[in-house]
Assembly symmetry: C3
């Protein structure tokens, strides 16, 4: 079960154009394309006539022509043409999902369109901020999407799963603080006066032997966003007090969209505020983060396989506090939505 009344990321901006792109989101088939004026559109990728995928058809101006019998739908999902007859049945339409293009992502609202307020879109301004550069990509997740949210909220896995890039021995025992603000969760960690992680040393140009104060401030927002403010500064130069000038700062930005109960789409970017004039940094950042995330994907797939073998007892640890809260929030929001939703929406 998924939270439907929420903005999810459906695609990267560059993935959507004048050739339709099919993607399964929250179990529903969606066809993305752009109108002639460039505005992105998302229609149900299933013709209301014989359920053909519209994405196999073609764009005729701002309308979509079904590949099977040529029905045409405008960007609101209304059928505007039935080739075989003059009358277009009033009920002939496919779902049109509210869509907003923002911060290089195409956002989509899978629930009640009346509630789709763009002001609710999660802030990912870094990707449009001249003070930041970024590298990003996407991955397919062969596991339930919440396993990935867990992964991002409990970074004590870094020294074990990513020892050659992100983790350091000090990580596991770092103190952390979990705070709540409504349904948002914040996990703050500081690792004071420690050798830098390999990736941080490279990005921050820290000399060999120099210790750093490292921060990692993760923020969860429903339905499934995690943003991590991360960085390292030369130890004792006041980063924790607010002066990050002696170090480097990155924002790891994560948007996870369920595909099915056991698969998901993972959109991510890594923003940085250094060497903005050097284009290769973006590629390097993307490459490094992608390599680490592939390690996570292997783990999530393996977890899901074990879970698919059947239930087994589990033990929660102190480090799990944030994601346990996250799961409670998601479960509550799903339950609330199902209670209040009209039956037709609940059924879908």
């Amino acid at each position: 079960m998924f939270i439907r009344n929420a903005w999810y990321v459906g695609a990267w901006d560059h993935e959507v154009g004048r050739v339709m792109r099919r993607r399964i989101l929250l179990g529903e088939p969606v066809a993305f394309f752009r109108r002639e004026d460039g505005v992105p559109v998302a229609l149900e990728d299933r013709c209301c006539h014989r359920q053909a995928p519209l994405s196999l058809g073609k764009l005729v101006g701002n309308t979509v022509e079904c590949p099977y019998h040529g029905l045409q739908f405008d960007a609101t999902g209304a059928c505007v043409k039935v080739p075989s007859q003059d009358r277009v049945p009033a009920s002939a339409r496919v779902k049109s999902y509210p869509v907003v293009e923002r911060n290089h992502w195409i956002w989509i609202w899978m629930g009640d369109p009346a509630k789709a307020d763009p002001a609710l879109i999660e802030d990912f301004h870094w990707m449009d901020d001249p003070h930041w550069g970024f590298g990003g990509s996407s991955l397919h997740v062969d596991a339930n999407y919440l396993l990935l949210v867990e992964n991002l909220l409990d970074t004590t896995h870094l020294p074990f799963l990513h020892p050659e890039s992100l983790g350091t021995g000090a990580f596991a025992r770092s103190e952390f603080e979990v705070t709540r603000e409504g349904d948002r969760i914040k996990v703050t960690r500081w690792l004071m006066d420690q050798p830098p992680a390999p990736f941080h040393q490279r990005m921050g140009d820290f000399a060999d032997g120099v210790n750093v104060d490292r921060w990692q401030i993760a923020q969860f927002a429903p339905p499934s966003f995690v943003k991590l403010d991360v960085g390292s500064a030369i130890a004792g130069t006041g980063a924790r007090q607010g002066d990050r000038s002696k170090g480097m700062n990155m924002f790891n930005l994560n948007a996870i969209t369920p595909e099915t109960e056991k698969t998901a789409h993972y959109f991510w970017a890594q923003a940085y505020n250094f060497k903005l004039d050097q284009r290769w940094i973006s590629d390097l950042v993307r490459q490094q983060v992608n390599a680490a995330f592939l390690q996570d994907m292997t783990m999530l797939t393996a977890q899901q396989q074990n879970m698919d073998l059947g239930p087994s007892p589990v033990v929660n640890l102190g480090q799990d506090k944030a994601w346990v809260a996250m799961r409670q929030i998601v479960a509550r929001l799903v339950a609330e939505e199902q209670q209040t939703a009209p039956r037709s929406v609940a059924a879908a």
Copy 2:
């Protein structure tokens, strides 16, 4: 659920010989072979002893030897030898399906053998008629078989799915008439004074710029046959009134046999009555029709994938009249059969 008391096509004649061929039909495993005198036989491809597929065994004269423990079955399905003992249990037998070879196809009756009257076999005489040539083949359908019957009964898809071969713009708005005769359905279309479809122009040698009167008369017969009488004649030369001499005529012959609820075997042929002395016509016809049918297969697979995502509202159009009636007929025949069938047959 399938209509069981009906003749289906199980194989092409050339597919069945002295090496057994396994095929799943209506969810049951069937082994086809020919007796020494050439008569085709279809036995359940599942030994009554330990359920080994007989088709992995060998033919010993007119009997089949199970590959596992050597039980032998005659062409009636009766076990005639148990190597390990003298006594052959009376209940030792596999199903033997009534089989008839006719019109290049091997016909099989999957229901109550007592009702298997060869007179009920659908007429496909064109493949044996000296006034006709034909090209044919078979395809595997990754979708419910009725989606293919729909496809053949609503040819308004031609200009959209097959624009380079079969469709012309005029097709969608062509008038058509649906008539019923018992459980048979006839859909008659005439496209008067139109440019010929590319395939028709090629087959009919129509000069560039010449318009044609085109006919398409589809006939459905249960459980899942569709025959299309199609052709084009020079416009105004009286084809609609009965004189087809100024054009070319083909019969598109389709036999669809369910494999499982979501897959099927598709046997088809295209008969033609021109240039019968030129062998290459048969190959060309087969090639052209096959190319168009592969486009249909892509569509059916995509429909089935969308349907597998769950139910969604559908709208019927005027053009759907024939296949809506077809589905009602099939559903009624299935229901009738299940009410009257003895439990054992119904369970199978």
Copy 3:
């Protein structure tokens, strides 16, 4: 459903070392490894924290470190370290399965550990007996494990499935005797004064034209072991009366462990008591038996596929007496176990 309170073979001795090996047994994920002193260990391959497979982690001395968050488990399955906190929750543990290394196999007890008496391990001493050599291997079975036990208990299939190696025409009609001793079943066959099977002729160096007395004495022991005492001696030299000196003797040793309801692990060895100084005999024996067993695997897969199509009537023959008894024993033992097992074990 499986018998859980029993010793199964989980691996060959050489398969288990200082790199963990994952294997699904009776539906549960198991990680095998050896302690620093060489003693084999089997832990649940599913961390009690977030269900990561421990086998993706690493060995730290005699403890296993989870690849995800670094929890460490000792060889008893007790969690001994949680990197992020001092306190190790008392409930933090994974199952540790009783394991015994014996006769080149790693034995594992999947049920109640309190009942895991090593004295119950099935005797396969041949693999450690200086009077015997052996060749062995393992195969994956794409079918329910009992189909393989059946196969080994009813060797009337030899002339049909293995005519070029093990079977001879006389086999099917050979008399056999089935005896029971508790839950053990013995099937004794003698083929007197017959041409030797090709494999036996090769192994026994029988001259062309010499007939042999051949024996095949199969013993079933729960949950799923079959040992076959097989051999041939020159006809009339008293083998049946006890003097096997004029022939050759082999023991075909089979341990079958369910993986899932429809797959299994097959561990087998072929022991022989001739030419023990000639190393190539072991390879030849392994090669020959493996080739025959691959034929069996093809058959079992095909049987399972037919069974998956749905139930169909079956006929039992006199030759099935042994495996029918075997299935009754297994079913009874499963039922008894489920009645007496505490709920938690029954649920697992």
